[in-house]
């Protein structure tokens, strides 16, 4: 039996958490409200706030100064980040904004690790707020930390302040007008664009304030922003994006569900929030108080130029395959088998990047949850070979089917949510699977993971580096060829049409959701195959395969190579694995460089490596035309004619 005192204590705990979530979600929705940008760096800014608070206390000894100065500093960081990057690319598709903030997140996280070290740190409670308050009534006897009570009050105070700022000041008026009609406000010109910076700074400062407030009762560590970012996303989705009231209600609700849920149904610890999210998605996909009007602009992915995939049967394709087939022959002469193994790993990652490109580059759905397929594929493979059969192909097939079904399910639940919603939801779903991987230790081996027997089929040892190399190469080539085929099929046409304009596709008579679900299932299947091969590569699986870092890395690889080209992401995977294998050994903060790289790509080469030949030939062409004075148009017309001819030849 739960005593009333315990119940009230948990109620207060829930409120405390809720207020914290509210502070984070408030900053997130303030930024989204005006700029249409979901800031993936928000959790990192929150963490930065906590660390800066730590340092201010270290210097001044005052918690209050920390609470004042740290948010301001974080606000400045936010403003600088906006000015240097987002400010110049507001006219781009939201996908690029999301990826850019993701790069910023990597940079901030690594920066913090560099300055403050990777270990968790203690943040002491200020003296006046230390200790507990006690209350005795007939049935109740509660003692509760004063600091948490202060947090509730402070959170309510900050929320009121923000509300007042938007309600009663000129600043708020302009920002609200901007949120209502971004087009008009954008048209108003340079003056208003400064408000974007201010809004970003405000959102970042809110995150920073939340960080300082949270620090005394959660430990301060570089990863403290990760879980809170996911909860903030869930808050915004549950409450309804763009509804401040919705965020308030959802934040408190989630805080309560988490604390009371743990008390009443301890089995669901860690899952209650996800279950709440899924329930809301099923019943009210627009969120509790949201109107759910996705702006057309926030759902679009479009490209300046079409870069057709290289066909397997083309000269380039055949040559690449031939070269790759010869690679193992050089073992011991030109290179060691280590590099052949590394190439297998690259092929596996290439599959994952390819699967992501199908949904992102071709259908325009922003998935930040492909870790789910990678990880589930790996777990299914390991579990199958451990418990049922030592035939690797059976495990592979099972992994592919399972992931296809899971992707279909996630799609069915969330595909009605386009654009930024979809990015947040897929991230949350992947975290749900990660949670399962960590918690359900009887089956998954918990954080330790599971070891798998050396993969084999029909007496062939797949553990052999060369054999495994040819297996992954064959699967990669086959999957690539099939993907090219599928995207050129009637189905693929519709998928591309949906990317260009979902509304128009529907108005022609297509059930666009059906196409989206199928394409997502296809992508999940391929992701599952990749995950299965990854397990076969390392003969081991752990929850790390389900961690959001995998999703992020897949996005990076895809962007690096060139989204919407199918072959680009595979090249990107090669470069990505090459960089990480090459740099991680020498540079501890190499992910900082990765983040920087990502930001630079988004800013300057959004179509990645695949577009480099054209970017280069265009700039030499420009140089030539400057020298000889021929006009640009001729070049373009030439190019179009060749493109048209290529189209006819195929």
């Amino acid at each position: 039996m739960i005593s009333p005192s315990l119940f009230v204590t948990e109620l207060l705990n829930g409120l405390t958490l809720g207020v914290l979530y509210l502070l984070i979600a408030a900053g997130l929705s303030v930024i989204f409200g005006m700029t249409d940008i979901i800031n993936f760096a928000h959790g990192a800014l929150y963490m930065l706030g906590a660390y800066l608070g730590l340092s201010v206390i270290g210097v001044t000894g005052s918690f209050w100064l920390a609470l004042l100065i740290a948010p301001i500093l974080v606000g400045v960081v936010g403003a600088v980040m906006e000015r240097l990057t987002l400010h110049h690319i507001y006219d781009r598709d939201p996908l690029y904004h999301i990826i850019l903030t993701f790069g910023a997140m990597l940079m901030i996280t690594e920066g913090v690790k560099y300055v403050w070290g990777p270990q968790p740190q203690q943040f002491s409670t200020p003296a006046i707020l230390a200790g507990t308050a006690t209350m005795e009534m007939s049935m109740l006897s509660i003692s509760y930390p004063i600091y948490k009570l202060f947090l509730i009050a402070a959170g309510v105070g900050v929320a009121l302040l923000v509300w007042g700022l938007f309600k009663f000041t000129d600043f708020g008026l302009i920002v609200r007008a901007g949120a209502q009609n971004p087009g008009t406000v954008r048209l108003l010109g340079i003056d208003v664009s400064n408000y974007f910076t201010l809004v970003f700074a405000l959102g970042a400062a809110l995150a920073g304030a939340a960080g300082v407030l949270a620090a005394p009762f959660l430990s301060v560590s570089p990863s403290m922003g990760d879980s809170i970012l996911i909860v903030a996303f869930i808050t915004v989705v549950v409450g309804g994006l763009g509804s401040f009231r919705g965020s308030v209600v959802a934040a408190i609700l989630i805080g309560l569900v988490e604390s009371l849920g743990n008390l009443l149904v301890p089995e669901l610890t860690g899952f209650s929030v996800y279950l709440l999210m899924i329930a809301v998605l099923l019943v009210r996909p627009q969120g509790l108080l949201g109107e759910y009007k996705v702006r057309q602009a926030s759902t679009k992915v479009s490209f300046d130029e079409v870069i057709p995939p290289v066909r397997v049967t083309s000269k380039t394709g055949l040559a690449a395959i031939a070269v790759l087939m010869l690679v193992p022959l050089g073992i011991g002469i030109v290179w060691s088998s280590y590099y052949v193994g590394l190439l297998s790993l690259i092929f596996v990652w290439a599959l994952l990047a390819l699967s992501l490109d199908i949904v992102m580059g071709y259908m325009g759905l922003l998935s930040f949850g492909h870790a789910a397929f990678w990880g589930v594929g790996a777990y299914v493979t390991v579990l199958t070979t451990v418990h049922y059969t030592d035939l690797f192909p059976v495990a592979l097939l099972l992994a592919a089917v399972t992931c296809g079904v899971i992707a279909w399910g996630i799609g069915a639940l969330s595909i009605r949510l386009t654009g930024v919603y979809f990015a947040m939801i897929t991230l949350a779903f992947a975290e749900l699977f990660h949670q399962i991987g960590v918690t359900w230790s009887e089956v998954t081996g918990g954080a330790n993971g599971l070891i798998m027997p050396i993969p084999q089929m029909f007496g062939i040892n797949l553990g052999d580096t060369v054999v495994f190399y040819y297996l992954t190469l064959a699967i990669l080539v086959g999957t690539y060829a099939l993907s090219v085929r599928i995207l050129d099929s009637p189905f693929g046409r519709v998928v591309k049409a949906i990317r260009e304009s979902e509304r128009r596709t529907a108005s022609l008579g297509y059930d666009t959701n059906k196409f989206k679900r199928r394409a997502f299932a296809l992508s999940g299947t391929i992701g599952g195959i990749a995950g299965s091969l990854f397990a076969g590569y390392q003969w081991f699986v752990s929850p790390e395969t389900l961690h959001w870092v995998v999703s992020g890395d897949a996005v990076i690889a895809m962007m690096l190579g060139g989204m919407g080209t199918l072959f680009g992401p595979m090249i990107g995977a090669a470069v990505f694995i090459g960089i990480s294998e090459g740099l991680s050994a020498y540079i501890p903060g190499w992910r900082f460089l990765l983040g920087l790289f990502l930001v630079l790509i988004v800013m300057f080469a959004p179509r990645g490596i695949a577009s480099l030949p054209r970017v280069i030939s265009k700039s030499t062409g420009d140089a030539r035309s400057r020298l000889f004075g021929d006009s640009d148009e001729i070049d373009i017309a030439d190019y179009e004619q060749t493109a048209a001819k290529e189209g006819e030849n195929e």
């Binding site: 079409v306 693929g492 128009r504 108005s507």
Partner: protein, 250 residues
Amino acid sequence: MTILETENLTKKYGNLVAVDDVELSVSAGEIRSIIGPNGAGKSTLFDLITGMQPPTDGRIRFDGTDITGMASHKIAQRGMSRSFQITDVFGGLTALENVQVAAQVDDSRRSSMLRDADGLSEVHGKAMDVLADIGLDDRPHQRASDFAYGDRRKLEIGLAVANDPKLLLLDEPTAGMGSEDTNSTMQMVQRLAADRDFTVLLIEHDLEIVMNVSDRITVLQDGGVIAEGPPEAIQDDETVQEAYLGGVFS
């Protein structure tokens, strides 16, 4: 025979009544124009009829069935097609691919994953016919976003025609065009309607054109119908002249 019928069709946005109790009845084969000042609710009426927005109240019957509340793609499959006031073509696809997507919608292989989309020869033929009809068959492999504005407007109509509609809703097909383009586009629409035998519901601002091409005209103001009749009657209608035409025909 009546192909489209609405019964006290109403759409409210908060306090604003965008479409107010509209009773519309369109016969098969006619060209019906909807005119009215900016903000009269014309585009919203189209959104309701095509199922892109749910009505607040009222019913819609199309080709003998009640389609109120039906999903827009289902309505489209029953033979209703529309073009948009603001061009909405598949910019990243070629002109041919654009019309192919529209033309393959009735094909049983439309969601096949393994065939070559260009290998569906009937679809390809149908799409080329449409491109010829809208005068873009000389550049089938050009990206839609690379066409000039007027050509994109034509493609906008081409997309709507390519899935063989029984009823075609055109939302200001000539918006933003010069007078020459406007005339040729309207002739194109008339020709298409006659050749392909569909009914047209047309929103158009150019009154001269409206008077020339329409069989009947419906006048909307503040969401409600203020007059309906053949062009001559509308031209002479005093309410219309006062409320909308403002002396253009006097």
